[in-house]
């Protein structure tokens, strides 16, 4: 697929997502804003896992790091949403860099365990500093912190616009990155690290850079969640929030640009649908995932790339 077609296709996805807010009922438009923020998180996860082969179980730390990097200054010092979002970006990136310096000395299962341990330590740190973080209870972000250029992020329109804007930024950066020379190096690391090393690339440096970029995404998503939906809490640092982006990516298609948003949307509305049908909705969601792994192990867009469009990035 030519470059122009690829860009046109992905821009069309962005336009369709923007238009959806006017077509969906208000309840589902708000849900779409949620999905876009979660997809931003999953896109960052996909860069590490889907493109570079870094199977992390610690991304909840980067998400929660961004959430509290934005939420705490807004809550304690009256920061508005603009500076808070920048802090969330930095928070996620710095945490990912710090964890990466240690965790990237390992690989495979060890990498999963070390990242999981860092995330658990982060969760307990949030609990420990209860006086500042609200501990397990968390805190509601005040209205002053939910204001961006005079717009209240608690209102549907500005909230969707910011969620979409951040998602679109992440989406286009991701597309540019994976189509760049560095993007091909990322895939080379995933496919054959030793051969990449032989070709002169330093796997530690490449993977550290990717993990930091992934952390920037996760941090920004965490900050956006706190400011757009008004709550920051330690539960977002639990293992569940490391597993969720992985599931979104696996469902939508690991190593595809649009896979995370497709996976996040499908998972969100699958939960919505299943919870309306039965109280055992978690069972239904689990069963759907098992079916997916059995019949489309590369995810939906992975299947599409294999069978229909081989050039799908």
């Amino acid at each position: 697929m030519s470059g122009a077609k690829v860009w046109a296709l992905h821009l069309a996805v962005l336009v369709a997502l923007f238009a959806a807010q006017y077509l969906l009922p208000p309840y589902h438009a708000t849900n779409l804003a949620r999905v876009l923020v979660l997809a931003l998180f999953a896109m960052g996860y996909n860069l590490a896992f889907g493109y570079t082969g870094l199977l992390s179980l610690g991304h909840a730390l980067f998400f929660a790091g961004g959430m509290f990097a934005a939420g705490l200054p807004a809550y304690h010092f009256g920061f508005s949403a603009g500076p808070a979002l920048i802090l969330s970006l930095l928070g996620g990136g710095v945490l990912a860099g710090a964890v990466g310096l240690f965790a990237l000395r390992t690989a495979g299962v060890s990498f999963m365990i070390v990242t999981l341990m860092f995330a658990q330590a982060g969760y307990l740190t949030l609990i420990y500093f209860n006086a500042w973080t609200g501990g397990d209870q968390g805190f509601a972000v005040p209205a002053s912190g939910r204001s961006l250029f005079g717009f209240a992020l608690s209102s549907d329109g500005p909230r969707f616009a910011v969620a979409w804007g951040l998602f679109a930024l992440g989406f286009l950066v991701c597309l540019a990155l994976v189509r760049s020379r560095f993007g091909r190096v990322m895939v080379a690391m995933r496919e054959n690290e030793e051969r990449s090393r032989l070709l002169g690339y330093n796997p530690f440096v490449v993977k550290l850079i990717v993990l930091v970029i992934s952390g920037l995404y996760a941090g920004l998503a965490g900050g956006a969640w706190a400011l757009l939906f008004g709550y920051a809490g330690a539960s977002f640092a639990t293992i569940q929030y490391s597993i969720l982006p992985m599931l979104y990516v696996l469902l939508g298609g690991a190593g595809t640009v649009a896979g995370p948003v497709l996976g996040a949307a499908l998972m969100f509305w699958l939960i919505e649908l299943a919870s309306g049908l039965t109280s055992a909705w978690l069972f239904l969601v689990g069963a759907a995932l098992v079916v997916l792994v059995l019949f489309a192990p590369k995810g939906i867009l992975g299947w599409v790339r294999e069978k229909v469009w081989r050039g799908l990035p």
Binding site: P25, G134, D136, Q137, F229, Y231, F236, L282
Partner: protein, 423 residues
């Protein structure tokens, strides 16, 4: 002569009468057919599931009673339950769904504090009354918004403070506290230490237990020898281990008086093997699980309605122990809602602001079938209700009520005035 263009006077009157009747009919039928929809944010799965099970049963019993008595302002009431998995993220989504998708007039029922915290901002944005049954201090502390109220259960600060006078007078004044190292434990640490100091007592040690801890013996060495009262508020699966190891630590030798909160043992049989060491110790209860000999006149009717026997277990399964000190809050909250809706002349979502103002205007809530736990006073400024508390002792493996506090024991100064906040 009459025709379509020149109708007779009689035909005109008949037509007009029929028209008026027809005009009235849809309104009457519509009012009867349109129930008041109450959204219930339920902990059906997740860590709060044992509470959720009993919350659902209790509020369903209250619903049956209210509908049998004519509903709210003559309209039937319907409850829509939605599982929030005891998760704050899902909690906010559930508030959204119940309000925007299901068209509920109000949302109620949340217990766990982190779910309340995560959901209340969305309720405020949607401008939907959000009545929590949580006992957290989050409402009265001013952390939430004008749309969030707690009218059916006292908050933990009030509960803790009201225990201190009796503990100091009957068990001792030198207290060592074991508390879980997170927000629930901090409420006890902060509020009880102040309350016991006001009674002339002191905290001789405060020992925080990390939430991931599975063995406790090494902490027991930190208990000062002059401790008179051991105050413990461990919750979750670790409680059994905590009590068992505490028993092994003291053996048959002298030990301090034990005082705890029944939150540790909600939905747990106090005669469970391993809990023998608690024999003779005391617990806070909001609503005595085992029916007291001097129980109020409405206690029996409430137990029958919610399906709980005199021992506090399900009438259909003696192993199914009720979360008796919390579940009454859903019953009382639904009755509070009825009272406020009728006072506000509530007709639909456009009256939600009027409804909150009507709730804020309520003060005295006397003992009655609407409030089987006891009389209460609602503080419209802090959106928090106050009531009496109970202290029970484990005797022969059963909780036996030994003391009831006064309402004043649990009062404290206002930390917020929500009525001055914008809607």
């Amino acid at each position: 002569m009459t025709n379509l263009l020149m109708p007779s006077r009689r035909a005109l009157l008949k037509g007009a009468g029929a028209g008026v009747l027809a005009g009235m009919l849809p309104a009457t039928v519509g009012a009867q057919a349109a129930p008041i929809k109450v959204g219930f944010q339920l902990h059906r799965t997740g860590i709060g599931a044992s509470y959720g099970r009993w919350y659902e049963r209790t509020v369903t019993a209250a619903l049956k009673k209210i509908n049998a008595e004519g509903g709210i302002a003559g309209r039937p009431v319907e409850i829509l339950f939605e599982d929030d998995a005891t998760d704050p993220k899902r909690g906010a989504e559930v508030v959204d769904k119940l309000t925007q998708s299901d068209g509920c007039d109000v949302v109620m029922g949340t217990l766990f504090s982190h779910v309340v915290m995560g959901s209340a901002p969305r309720a405020g944005e949607l401008k939907v009354p959000y009545l929590v049954c949580s006992e957290g201090y989050h409402v009265a502390s001013g952390a939430l918004n004008r749309w969030t109220l707690q009218p059916g259960i006292t908050d933990v600060r009030s509960q803790i403070s009201s225990m201190a006078p009796w503990v100091a007078a009957n068990l001792g004044k030198k207290v060592t506290m074991f508390y879980p190292d997170y927000a629930f434990g901090y409420d006890h640490r902060d509020h009880f230490s102040k309350a016991i100091a006001a009674q002339g007592g002191e905290m001789v040690a405060m020992i925080a237990i990390p939430p991931t801890e599975t063995s406790f013996t090494r902490y027991f060495a930190q208990i000062p020898a002059d401790t008179e009262v051991l105050y413990h508020v461990m919750v979750g699966p670790a409680v059994l281990t905590f009590v068992k190891e505490l028993g092994e630590f003291y053996g048959t030798g002298p030990k301090p008086q034990l005082f705890g909160f029944v939150d540790s043992l909600e939905a747990v049989d106090t005669a469970t093997p391993g809990l023998e060491f608690l024999e003779g110790s005391h617990f806070w209860e909001a609503h005595p699980r085992v029916k007291p000999a001097d129980a109020g006149e409405f206690e029996a009717g409430y137990r029958e309605a919610v399906g709980v026997d005199d021992n506090g277990t399900s009438v259909s399964d003696a192993k199914d122990v009720a979360t008796y000190s919390h579940m009454f809050s859903t019953w009382e909250t639904l009755h509070f809602l009825k009272q406020a809706m009728e006072a506000a002349g509530y007709t639909g979502p456009a009256d939600r602001q009027k409804l909150v103002e009507a709730m804020e205007a309520i003060t005295d809530l006397p003992y009655g079938p609407e409030r089987p736990q006891g009389a209460k006073v609602f503080n419209g400024k802090t959106h928090q209700v106050f009531g009496v508390q109970h202290i029970s002792q484990i005797q022969s493996g059963k909780l036996v009520q030994v003391h009831t506090t006064s309402m004043e024991d649990g009062m404290y100064e206002d930390a917020v005035d929500y009525t001055t906040m914008a809607f």
